[in-house]
Symmetry: C2
Subunit: 219 residues, 2 copies
Amino acid sequence: MPSSTVENYLKAILRLSDESPDEALVGIGRIATALELTSGTVTTMMKHLGKEGFVDYQPRKGVVLTETGRAAAVQVLRRHRLIELFLVEVMHLDWAHVHEEAEVLEHVLSDRMVERIDEMLGRPAHDPHGDPIPNAEGVVREDEFKALSECEPGEYQLVRVARDEPDFLRWLQEQGLRPGAGIEVRGIDKLAGIVEIRVDGGEQSLRIGEAVAGVLGVS
Amino acid sequence: MPSSTVENYLKAILRLSDESPDEALVGIGRIATALELTSGTVTTMMKHLGKEGFVDYQPRKGVVLTETGRAAAVQVLRRHRLIELFLVEVMHLDWAHVHEEAEVLEHVLSDRMVERIDEMLGRPAHDPHGDPIPNAEGVVREDEFKALSECEPGEYQLVRVARDEPDFLRWLQEQGLRPGAGIEVRGIDKLAGIVEIRVDGGEQSLRIGEAVAGVLGVS
DNA sequence: GGCTCGACTTTGAGCGATCAAAGTCTAGCT
DNA sequence: AGCTAGACTTTGATCGCTCAAAGTCGAGCC
């Protein structure tokens, strides 16, 4: 049974390797930055994870998740996402706060609890950020979407929010920008780095920066 | 913020001192047995807890909880009991399994979560074993009851089950013996150490040993 | 080919929690 | 008073995780 520490490493490696699918290996430094640890600590851990069969550790190059490692990481992701949804839907906690809470619960809830949550929520496919929830077998059904920042003017639907900061999420919520909302892209000012949108049949235009628009996935 | 380890020590000391209210101090050995640790470990921890102001440590004698320590312990108890009830009432987990789960969650749920649970359950006064749930201020409303093993024949109501083993709880449940159930004491055979009861208008008599009857509180 | 700079690894240390085993009190008996 | 058994404390060690700082490697530049 991997400790929560190990689970966090695994989760981070999964995320990082998904973030740059072109690179074969995830570098030690990136992991260190992601987890806010020194690289020495990460090196030590990678050797250990290597021995345990969770990663393939190539000294001075980086690591790849093994099958086992990937499966374990996906299970953590599944738990995290189910828990987030549970906290929003059942506990009626604020979308904005749910991430931190899930961050600890994901390592701690029994399989029985997670199964019960999955059942209560009707085997949901997406968490409150629109991220796909892997099923119990670890199969993730990835869905198509593109960044709002890359869109031509037109009608879209918000399907994904790729950021966790409470303040940002709270603001999004105030603007009616939660997964499922309709978005009309009215114009893009490439030079100014600004996207002008209208949310869900509302009246007013909303101007958001490219970076923010890049974090919103639409379809 | 006390670690879960510390919280567990505190909880154990609270329980042990409530178990023998006549003794002024809880001995190191009892704590060690309760937590399945060596006494050396406990001694070390008690010195530490002493410095932190959670207990008054009297070398070679034992410890008493300070005000601070007691308050912290009661909060853990509150969490534990609220969580147990939540798991039964909301998550519909089995009464028998709920203790272990609560044992970990009590150290980990945010105050916000606990408050939400308390609210969802309507500020309940008792957990699934019939134990009183301290309120947010740490006030415990103890209620009157006596051990079934001490009862004259007559009609009673089960209000308390002072044991946590899943197998035992499952058996109780199968007999209809959950807090709230009516119990008729039909006879006591002191010499054989057996109590004969009838559960909640059922037909058959049930014979239980003194030790088991001692764990059931009725009023 | 040699050098350098940045990325990675190694080393030595600390912290919190734990143990086993050796040492010390002390209450209570003789 | 002296002894002893049992309860408690001390000591030295381990384990998982972490850090700072010193050491090493190697890709790319001259």
